[in-house]
Point group: C2
Chain length 321, copies 2
Amino acid sequence: MKFRIDNLQYCNWSRKVFEINREAGLDAVHVTIVYHEDFKELLSETKKWEKLLKENSDLIFLGKNHNDIDRAKDENKTAIFFGFQNCSPIEDDINLVEKVHQLGCRFMQLTYNNQSLLATGCYEKIDSGVTNFGREVIKEMNRVGIVVDMSHSAEKSTLDAIKISEKPIAITHANPSFWHPAKRNKSSELLKTLSDSGGILGLSIYPHHLKDNTNCTLKSFCEMIAKTVEIMGVKNIGIGSDLCLNQPDKVVEWMRNGTWSKSKNYGEGSKNKPGFPKQPNWFEDARGFKNLEKGLKDVGFSEIEIDGILGNNWYNFYKII
Amino acid sequence: MKFRIDNLQYCNWSRKVFEINREAGLDAVHVTIVYHEDFKELLSETKKWEKLLKENSDLIFLGKNHNDIDRAKDENKTAIFFGFQNCSPIEDDINLVEKVHQLGCRFMQLTYNNQSLLATGCYEKIDSGVTNFGREVIKEMNRVGIVVDMSHSAEKSTLDAIKISEKPIAITHANPSFWHPAKRNKSSELLKTLSDSGGILGLSIYPHHLKDNTNCTLKSFCEMIAKTVEIMGVKNIGIGSDLCLNQPDKVVEWMRNGTWSKSKNYGEGSKNKPGFPKQPNWFEDARGFKNLEKGLKDVGFSEIEIDGILGNNWYNFYKII
């Protein structure tokens, strides 16, 4: 089987976006549905999604497990998997882990950029690792079947999570720091530990995570993948594009600031470039998967390897959630 | 003026308790009104307090600042100052700091025993100090007039808070670890840094913080105070008895467990001794202040020093909130 999976998108969802994802041949997309929203606010978001799923049932449906990716392939649809980029929806209550799973959550980051109740984010000065509450929550996520996602977490916290979690974890959207040393990207040591433990990395095409930002070339990106494979092997890598299609800039403000500061925080941006950055021309939307296919071939990957990177590796990971 | 202040009680509040505090001559009490309650749950607690304040207006009233301690003395009443033992009521929202101040909050711990969004608690393995959000919240607490209370925090977090806060901070209820090395007690280095910065320590009479627990003698407690004065001076010490009068054991379960674990946590207790410990016989309730007066005299303190320790030092601290 040949699956195409984008394991992180945070678009301004509309029929148009779902059509583009179909055109791109995506069988599954892991979508971020909340950042800093609490449980009650999460309920509002899932209601919005109920409407979207109903109105676009010819294009998408809510995925629960890997069988739904097969079903999507059969029905020419895209299975949508819900995920959170912060643990705010479970508040300080271990019992909400099961509740958010019932609402469809399949991936949850233990932290966004700052310290959470569970672990340390990559923008904090000191990383104390997974907390007492974090240990309990990981156990519960393992039990109910929510993937621990450490994309925005700091290094020690991520290593702790790998060790504590009884199931492999994911970094759904980040790149190796050997290629582009952004705060959000990951060290080679961490990536090796991740793949050794059966975990998976979704490579990001968000410009702030790319060498040369918007001007990053397809060739540079695919050469980076080849080097990453030398560290992680070819079966623990996928795509998590972090595509934020059609999002207004106020959304990136919310992502970065939530309600934690009275002054404005620019995260990966800057005062002069506060908004969403422009995508590179080879990945303006998910149809760029076709370019990735060509680019990966050009740097020497075989068809089986390319299918793995562009979807089958994620499919296999979904089997063990 | 000669004030008597107990700067931490968490009793099962009733007319009887307020009468005992009056009999003890207390002009002011800092009362814990919440632990892990969120903002909405805090509102329920303040409503309960509105009723208590109304029904017992001949004994107590809600204090806002140090002038209310003078008023209490004049009117033979006890001024009640609200405090939180965790930062849960401000959730992840900097704007709630001002709101909780409007509701009467004058002291807020940045952490209970676990990691919070603001800092690290004394029961975590690693202490990463005050977080990004914590820095912002301390600034806001300084602005609106809520005291940073680090009673349950870990050491580096406390040192960070002392450094970051523009106003002196408090440890409302803890003892020196040189006397009794409990996790909740504080190192001599920390206590010296606290007093050098104008901060204040409220000495606790909660048995788990005492040498020999319930069997701790008044003499031992007062000798400890004398030694602490050698480190901190005599003006930066008060009483924060941590008295939990008439509380049922389910309350100590809530304090320790909140909703963060599926298994039971015993905190300072143990499986065999899960409940509230018995008070030492010289401080079964606030009337024990009379015993403290005698005990302090017996170890050589002057009347002025005793008045400082039993209330005037806290009064002076309230002036700079």
